[in-house]
Every structure is written in C-alpha cells, then in structure tokens.
C-alpha cells in the first residue's frame, strides 16, 4: 500500500506536463481546430463581405423564381415559365439519364473487351489491347470533342441520313431509333411478366430451403431464371395480338416522324463516356478473372464439380470479390465525368447550374447544391461499398 502510492508519486512527478503525451495531443487538437475554424471564419466572413459590397445573393430564394431559359432536352416536361429549382431537377434527371445508360453500356463493352483480351485467339486479343491502350491514354475531354465536333456535328442533313440496320438513322438532327409502343393487349402481358417475377422469387426461396434441408440438388437459381424468362415469352403468345408495336422513324420533309430521338449532344456524351470508361472496366474485369488462381479451377474439378459449377461456385465469386470495388469506383468516375457534358452542351446538372448562375447570379448557393448532389451520390456509394466489402471479406486466421 505504502509502496504503491510511492511509485505513483514518482511516475507522476517524473513526467513533466509539457512532455505528457495526453497533454501534447490535447494541445495539438486545440491548435489544429483553432487554425481550421479560423480559416473558415476568415473565408466565410470574406464571402459575406463580398456579398454586401458587390450585391451578391447568398439566399436560396431564387429556386422559386421563374427560370426563363429553355433546356434542349428533359426527361419530364419542362418549359421556361417553371422555376429555377425545377430546372435544376431536370438537370439532375439528365445527369442520371446519362450516367445510368452509360454505366450499362460501358459494363457491356468493358466485359466484352476484357474477354477478347484474354482470348486465346491472338488477333482478337491484340485488337482488344490496342483499343484499351489507345483509349486509356487520351483525355476524355479530347475524345468528347472528337465525338461531338468532328463526328456528330459532321453528320449529313436529315434527307441524307445514314441508315443503319434496324431502322436506325443518324443525322445532324440526332439519332433516330424505333420506339416500342404499347398496344391494347399490353396490360395483360405486363400481368404475365409481374406474375413471372413473383413466381420466380417464390421458387428461388422455396427450392433453396428444400435443398438446404434435404441436401438434394433442386437448382433454385436456374429454375427461377427459367421461370423469369419463360413467363414473358409465354404471355406474349397467349394474349393474342402483340402487346408492343414498333414505332419506326420515317424520313419526313424536314424531319423524322415517329421513333425516339437522341440529340447529338446526348449521343456524343454517351459515346465518349462509354468508350472511355469501357476501356478502364475491361482492365478491371481482366484483373479480376486473372486473380483467380488456376489451381482453384483444377481443385474444383478434382472434387467432382462440373464445368458450370466451377464457374458459378468457385471462379465467379472469387473474381467478383476482386472486380466489384474497382468497378464501382469506375461507375462513380463515369458519373462524375458526365459533368463534362458542359463541353458539348448537354443540359446535365452542372450545365443547368452554370446557366442558373448566369441568370440568377447566385454562384455560392448553386455551387453548394451541385456539390451536395455529387457528394451524396459518392458518399452513399462508398458507404454501401464498405458494407459490401465487410461482407465479402476473406475471414483469415
């Protein structure tokens, strides 16, 4: 007891205050906080000062004012009399439209390119690597300029449109594609599709449980997929008349009648984003496939799994673990890169934001809105990614 207190006294007196780790850390925290907050106060006060002196608006009231500028394209109806806030929403939707379609197409292109590069056919593999090496080393903006100014703006006029198989027409007015139009029997067909989806989910769960319980192979995934595919096909023939008709574009006097139109701005942005990101995705997929050791494949065959089972149960899950994180970061890159739409005049969120700044003059609020949207997309994705990563992480000893 006596000794204990003696020791304590010594340790306490032996470390002077200015060398106590906890004290140093506390002081360092206070100093860094004061520095950062001081800088922030300095900047913010400057902004308010500037707002006062130069009549700059910092309020968000402008979102309710009438926009008064047209937008070349929008997913939902829009006209000039609507508010700035609504115009900004159109911008967000246009960004999503470019990003989602871009991600789907880039994934398809990237996967094909990766498989081609891994192909045992020398020529096919070389063509794929030339594509990847060329595209990855040229800035995206340069590629967008080539697509927009050199390719799409140089397309012929409507009358001399380039025609591709499948009723696709390319001209200066845009890319015209056949559009699906629902007919009277469409409702009945949708009922089949929805029924198929419900049934396949039920089958997947029920058969999976049965397999776990009895150990007998019931192929839950294959059965569910088969039902999912068969239901719409069956419905198509059972409802009598075809539920969808194709609205084929026809060259009119000055313009096309029917079909759907992609503007050349959208088409150029999409072409640039897809071809650029596709090359990066190809490398990601290739790395994932190559990361699975050959021994895994051989060992799986040795314990008696079939070729498909090896792919489904051994190779695929392991490759996905390597592929998914960088793939998601490529998706985020594509979404962020879609802000380059401003260079080709496609009205995405950033473009609309710029226009609002020009019209309403409130740069700080608009920028905060633009950054908030991009940040929430990125942060949500990275939170989801972290959860996913924790789930698939290898549990090591």
């Amino acid at each position: 007891m006596k000794q204990d207190s003696h020791i304590q006294v010594i340790t306490r007196s032996s470390i002077p205050l200015w060398r106590d780790e906890r004290v140093i850390q506390g002081i360092a925290q206070v100093i860094s906080a004061v520095l950062v907050i001081g800088f922030m106060i300095f900047f913010v006060s400057n902004v308010f000062q500037a707002a006062n002196d130069r009549g700059l608006s910092l309020s968000y009231d402008f979102v309710k004012e009438s926009a008064g500028f047209p937008l070349a394209e929008s997913v939902i109806p829009y006209d000039e009399s609507q508010s700035f806030g609504y115009a900004f929403l159109i911008g967000i939707l246009n960004t999503i439209k470019a990003a989602v379609v871009g991600i789907l197409l880039a994934t398809a292109l990237g996967t094909v390119a990766a498989l081609a590069r891994l192909s045992s056919n020398w020529l096919v593999s070389k063509i794929a690597s030339v594509y990847i090496e060329i595209v990855r080393n040229i800035p995206l903006l340069v590629q967008l300029f080539i697509w927009y100014f050199a390719v799409f703006q140089n397309l012929p006029i409507v009358k001399e449109s380039i025609q591709w198989p499948g009723h696709i027409y390319l001209s200066q007015r845009g890319v015209y594609l056949p559009a699906p139009v629902p007919t009277q029997t469409f409702g009945g067909w949708i009922a089949f599709v929805v029924g198929g989806i419900v049934l396949s989910i039920i089958l997947r769960v029920a058969l999976g449980r049965y397999q776990l319980k009895t150990g007998r192979a019931t192929y839950p995934v294959a059965t569910a997929l088969a039902v999912l595919l068969i239901a719409p096909v069956l419905g198509w023939f059972l409802v009598g008349a075809s539920p969808l008709a194709a609205d084929i574009p026809v060259i009119g006097k000055f313009n096309f009648d029917g079909g759907t139109r992609l503007t050349i701005e959208y088409a150029a942005l999409l072409a640039g984003l897809v071809i650029y990101t596709g090359a990066f995705i190809a490398e990601v997929v290739r790395a994932g496939i190559m990361a699975v050791d050959r021994g895994q494949f051989e060992a799986a065959r040795a314990v008696g799994l079939s070729g498909m089972q090896v792919l489904r149960l051994i190779v695929f899950p392991q490759a996905m673990r390597v592929i998914i994180p960088p793939l998601i970061s490529q998706y985020l890159n594509l979404t962020k890169n879609s802000s380059l739409a401003i260079a080709v005049g496609y009205p995405d969120m950033f473009f609309v934001g710029r226009t609002i700044i020009n019209q309403a003059g409130s740069a700080v609020p608009v920028f905060s809105m633009v950054m908030a949207v991009y940040l929430s997309i990125s942060l949500t994705t990275s939170v989801l990614m972290n959860i996913y990563n924790r789930r698939i992480q290898l549990v090591e000893r």
Binding site: Q25, N137, I138, A150, M371
Partner: protein, 399 residues
C-alpha cells in the same frame, strides 16, 4: 537393361510459323470464324483510316501553327526562355542518366531521339530554332559526362531538379523591373507548355499537402483526423470541373477585397487542391504498408514520434508509392484539358482557337483534335511505360 544409345531427349523445337498460326488463330472452328471476322474488321478500319489520313484529311491547321500548339501566345521575342528551360531539362536528364541509370536512361535516350528528329525535320524552319533543337542532345551528353565529376551525386541531382522547377516558373513569368527578363502575363501562356506546367505545378505543390493530409488522416487526434477526412472525401466526391469552377468563380470571393490572383494561378490552385486529396490517399496506402514493428523499433532505439515518422516510416512509404505518383501525374496531365472549360488556353483550347483563326479551317475539327489526341497519347504511353519499368526497378510489386 538394354540402353538404346541413339535415344536423345531433345527440348521441344520452337513451333514453326504454320504451327503458330494453327495454335493461335485456327485452333477450333469458331476460332477460325473469329479470326476471319477480325481480319475483315481490320481491313476496313485500316483502309478507312489510312486513306483518310493520307488523302482526305487537310493537315494545314496543324502544319501551319506549330508555335501556337507548343507555347500558345507566349511573346516570340521571349521564346529563348522556353529554350533555356529545355536546355536545363536536357542537361539534367543527362546527369540523371549517369547517376541513376535504369529507366532514366531510356528516357534520356528517347529525349535525344525526339530532339534530333525535331532538328532534322524536312520542313522550313528558322535556322536558330534548328540549332536550338540540335543543342539539346548535345547538352544531354554533356550532362552525362558531368555525372563523373563531384556533382554526380544523387543528392545534387535531386536538388538540381527541384531548382530547375523553381527556375522554370521564374523564367516563364519573369520579374518586374528587370530589363532583360520582363514580366510575361500568364494569360499569354498556352499550348503544350501550359498543359505541362499545370500538371507539374499540380503534382509538385500537391505533394507536401498530400503528405500532411495523409499523416493527419492516420493521426490519433480525432479533431485533426476529422478535418483531413472531410477535406479528402469532399474533394474526391465531386468532379474536377466543379473544383475548377469553384476556383475560378468562388475563390475570388473567399479572399479579401485587395487580393486578386489571375486566372492561370486560380486554375493551378484548383488543380493542386484536387491532386492533394488523391495524393493523400496514395501516400496513405504507402504508410499502411509499413509494418508497426518499424515504428516500435524506432521508438525502442530512442527516436521520438517526429523522428520515427520522418526518418523511418516516411522514407520507406514514399519509396513504395513512387509508381503510383507517376500514375497520378499521368491522370493529372490528362485532366489539365478541363482547364479549357474555365477559359485557359492549354493544348485543347489552343486547338479550338486554331480552328477559329481561319475561315477555311472551320470544319477541320477531326484533323486538329486527332493531332492533339496523338500528342497526349505519345506522352502518356511513354510515361506509363516508364512507370511500369520503375515498378520493376523498385521491386514494389514483389512485396
């Protein structure tokens, strides 16, 4: 046991061309179909591209404005400064070749070949310019020889490079009040010169900030760590264009009334902040690769926190991330094109300006932008080749 003395086991003979073809192009029926399709595809693409490049394309805008593409509107009578910078770089490459060898040698040789080709190009060129180009390879060899003298020490060469960076900025901008080195407005900087400068300033200036941010993120102090994470995640979460626009529109509002910084500098600030966040993450990767035992050992021999970090951990961590930083430099080099959107006359914007400078060239978009694409491609491909070599040389991938 009857041994057949004539049996000789030979290594398998290398496959002949016919067997190579059969194995790599025609091994199965669908392989054959793929090969034939690929040949048809290649035929049409090559035919189209070659006939366009050689016969249809009009290369007038590219051939007639080499100065614009190279340095933009930099005053012609001040171009000797750019030349001096090139001399400096050539000399330093020669020196580094002798001292460091390896990958640097490949680069020094590539530079020698490039300048020799430039000097011997069969087009009409000012004789002074031709001699200038020719002087570069000679300076590289002088530098190589100088590597034998006492200045051929790794430390001196590194200092030389750092000094050359400062000199480059000083030379280009000039100093007010000095007659032979008048100030050149940054608005006149342009072309490939500005593209390189933006990327270089971005990577060099972002390095110290990145190291501090990475250390801050690793720190045990929650407040400091919080600020660093906040900065890194915000910057990485938004597109570079928004940051460049922030820098060009909103940064002036953040500063007191009297302080004005010009457009090029604002873009450089934006690029640097952007690069710093990514640099921090790269360096953090290096820091995490250093085992805790290193710090514990450093503390055990009596080093304090700062010494352990500065003398033991950082040198090892930074060595690990050199190839990653080269990769980041390549990405930043490509990203400089976005400065065109905020009105800087870097390479891509110069292309735009060239197209608009002559009514007859208005429709030659493909020629000009393709030319720019080729310039970027050559530099990027060379740099990524070097980065791969560097990775092997440093043995990074092996641990």
């Amino acid at each position: 046991m009857s041994t057949n003395s004539t049996t000789v086991i030979r290594p398998p003979s290398p496959p002949g061309p016919v067997r190579w073809l059969k194995k790599n192009l025609f091994s199965t029926w669908y392989d054959t179909v793929l090969t034939i399709l690929a040949i048809v595809f290649l035929y049409f693409v090559l035919k189209g591209v070659l006939s366009w490049v050689l016969f249809t394309a009009n290369w007038a805008p590219v051939i007639n404005s080499p100065k614009l593409f190279a340095v933009g509107q930099y005053p012609p009578e001040q171009l000797w400064r750019v030349g001096t910078i090139l001399f400096m770089v050539s000399f330093l490459f020669g020196l580094s070749w002798r001292v460091w060898g390896g990958t640097v040698r490949t680069f020094a040789l590539a530079l020698v070949v490039a300048f020799s080709i430039m000097a011997l190009l069969p087009i009409s060129m000012d004789l002074k310019l031709r001699i200038g180009f020719l002087a570069n390879p000679i300076l590289t060899f002088i530098g190589y020889q100088a590597g034998r003298t006492p200045i051929g020490k790794s430390r001196w060469v590194a200092m030389g490079w750092l000094l050359s960076f400062v000199l480059t900025i000083l030379l280009l901008s000039g100093i007010e009040g000095i007659n032979w080195l008048p100030k050149v407005e940054t608005g006149l900087w342009g072309g490939l010169l500005l593209t390189f400068l933006l990327a270089l300033v971005g990577i060099v200036a972002s390095f110290p900030i990145g190291v501090l941010l990475a250390l801050g993120r690793q720190s045990k102090l929650p407040v400091l760590k919080g600020f660093c994470v906040l900065f890194i995640e915000i910057v990485r979460g938004v597109p570079l264009v928004t940051i460049l626009f922030m820098a060009s529109i909103i940064l002036p509002l953040f500063l007191p009334e009297g302080i004005r910084i010009d457009r090029v500098l604002r873009a450089m600030v934006g690029m640097t902040l952007f690069a710093a966040a990514y640099m921090a993450e790269n360096i953090r990767g290096g820091l995490q690769a250093i085992p805790v035992g290193q710090i514990e050992a450093a503390k055990a021999v009596g080093l304090n926190n700062f010494q352990a970090m500065g003398l033991i951990v950082l040198p090892q961590a930074l060595r690990l991330v050199i190839p990653t930083i080269v990769g980041q430099f390549i990405a930043l080099f490509m990203d400089t094109t976005l400065a065109a959107i905020v009105g800087l006359l870097e390479l891509l914007a110069i292309g735009r300006a060239v197209l608009e400078s002559n009514v007859e060239w208005k429709l030659l978009n493909m020629e000009v932008y393709l030319f720019i694409a080729v310039i970027f491609w050559v530099f990027n491909y060379a740099m990524s080749y070097a980065s791969r070599r560097l990775e092997v040389a440093l043995g990074v991938g092996e641990r």
